[in-house]
């Protein structure tokens, strides 16, 4: 996958239009995990917007995001920073070849390999 395709894929996965962001920083102002994140919620949006995805794919913040969706809830522009974080996380997991898990496989691997956030995100996402 080329970088351009990767960017397009991230945009598609996140399902959010990062260009709507007006750089107010309310997401980072609200984030309860802010201090632990090496890349802050607002930076996820602006870096994806600028195509700086290499840093995103290597960051630790995707494992610190609590998927609490406070940023999504509070964003005045309807941008979903947490969805971008989630898209990056999904991409990283897939790049590690961990895609396509069958339901019966989940219990044995859930603790070690699948970050809890992914499950929480999935519940939040599909319960809406």
């Amino acid at each position: 996958m080329t970088k351009e395709e990767r960017i397009e894929n991230l945009n598609r996965l996140s399902g959010t239009d990062v260009r709507k962001c007006m750089k107010c920083g309310k997401c980072s102002g609200r984030c309860p995990a802010f201090k632990d994140m090496d890349i802050k919620p607002h930076q996820f949006v602006s870096m994806l917007c600028q195509g700086k995805i290499d840093e995103l794919l290597e960051c630790k913040a995707i494992w610190n995001c609590l998927s609490c969706m406070a940023c999504v809830e509070r964003c005045p522009r309807g941008v979903a920073p947490a969805a971008v974080v989630e898209a990056v996380r999904d991409t990283v997991v897939r790049m590690q070849g961990k895609n396509g898990i069958k339901a019966e496989e989940i219990p044995p691997i859930v603790d070690e390999l699948i970050p809890q956030q992914l499950l929480v995100s999935a519940y939040r996402k599909y319960n809406k």
């Binding site: 007006m22 750089k23 107010c24 920083g25 309310k26 102002g29 609200r30 984030c31 005045p76 522009r77």
Partner: protein
Amino acid sequence: MQRIGVFICWCGSNIAATVDVVKVAETIKNEPGVVFAANYQYMCSENGQQLIKQAIKEHNLTGIVVGACSPRMHEATFRKAAEEAGMNPYMVEIANIREHCSWIHKDMEETTEKAVVLVRTAIAKVKLNAPLMAGESPVIKRALVIGGGIAGIQAALDIADAGFEVDIVEKNATIGGRMAQLDKTFPTLDCSACILTPKMVDCAQHEKIDILSYSEVEEVKGFVGNFNVKIRRKARYVDESKCTGCKICMEKCPAKKGANEFNMGLDNRPAIHIPFAQAIPNVAVIDPEQCIKLKTGKCGICQKFCGVGAIDYEQKDTFVERQYGAIVVATGFKPIALDNFNEYGYADNKDVITSLELERLMNAAGPTGGVLLRPSDKQHPKVITFIQCVGSRDSSGCGKPYCSKICCMYTAKHAMLIREKYPDTEVHVFYIDVRTPGKNYDEFHRRAVEQYGVDYIKGMVGKVYNENGKLMVQGSNLIDNEQITIESDLVVLATAIEPEPSVRKIATLLTASIDTNNFLTESHAKLRPVESPTAGVYLAGVCQGPKDIPETVSQASACAAKVIGLLVKDKLKTNPCVAQPDENMCNGCGQCANVCPYGAITYVDKEFRLGGGKTEIRRVATVNPAVCQGCGACTVTCPSGAMDLKGFSSKQIMSEVEAICKM
């Protein structure tokens, strides 16, 4: 049989260089119905017009076609010439053989051929033209201003100064509007009341201005120059002609626990009250929800104490009907409700306030007498945090998608005034962008930063919470890429503004267009910014879009100029190219009225003869020619083909199509 004359213009060499004008005239001469054809160097010149006039008289022409430049250029010229020769001006058609022919094609044969077709097309149309008369409608020389804020006051004063009668209808008990509530005004920091109240007094004393306070527009009929408006005068339970404004009733009233609207509910007022000291009219009003006498029948203390017998508990709403030539809408704004923004803790913390509430807290006539004390414990706040864009620029659905425009400036003003009066106070401002275009505006904002040391933080607040009696404001500082928490004593929300909600009802009454944010739509965003597309309706102030006081006053004066321009006319000439229904075909379905953007179409029950002495009553459409602008939307919508447009009738356009295709 029509007798058509055709005149082909050379336009110097503009047309003649690429169109064989002589050949065109020769060819056209043989067209059926054409009795005269000529060509001339400059048809629009005095001599050219003379040629037309002479031909009309000599050949007894019934219609003419001028093959020349665009009708947008000289249609009016040739119509006038025809009129001077005794021909109806609407029997003139223009074939555009310059812009649409000679200027864009190069091959002589091709252009000549096209010119012939264009002239033929115009002939085909003119044969079906009918003489039209521009109608006239009288202008009632009186204006109505809806809303008595600074916009309405300014518009009323300007119109009245030009010598026309003006009525201001204000729904509250006093005029003055939002500006009366403000403390100081940017960028000069002069006291709002000091500049507003003289204007209010001018209004009250002006012999041409009638203030109908505590009143609302109930019904509007008619059209430009001729509106008929029904106004509800709400019962105030006080005789306006007797009350002297002595306020003894306010002292004696036992029901003192009403939320004081003028002070944004920050203190209380009695049931019978005068909204504020400089109210115009300076007449009391009773709040029926609160008055013990009106609720239980027992009390009547104010009546006992009133020295002039002005109190009347039996008063009922009354209606007045008046005629106006023009209507100015100046209904103003209100801050939005903050129900969707619980992250700022407005509902839970007394010390989280809106900017308009701060305005009252800093005002000498406000609940604290101008001393800045926070609402919860009446202490001086030492750390004050301002949050901008609360509900503005919010496309998520919680707030308003637009910029409220005034907040950047008033927040700078508040920050500056606080630092000036209480230098020991720490002031922080969270902003997304600072937008201060305008004369001396950015300088004003920079003064707050540079001279008064206000701490501007680029970032937005995520939440405000109460911890041990302190307001913790948690937000981001984007420049330093930090999340910060400021321990504050007072939090001020720069709340978005929205049009006063009652404007929607007024827009419906006036058939004035309104957008999804409840702002009234102007006729043209750039070139007709103070006119509603509905003729005779003008817009001033925030009802048209967010704006500050200087802009509001400019717009109000612009409105007044437009109103005066209308009212000086004795009669209005109406465009005769308007829609006309064929009553025999109309089935009264109502489709045309639905698509009419001007509300020009109404329905009447009309009696039709059926023959044999029988009659029937049917509902048919009628078009008010003074209101119709002639767009033709109704003509296409009409399912029975009853509606047609004069000057652009279906038959005319059909025959044009035919003439073009027949080549």
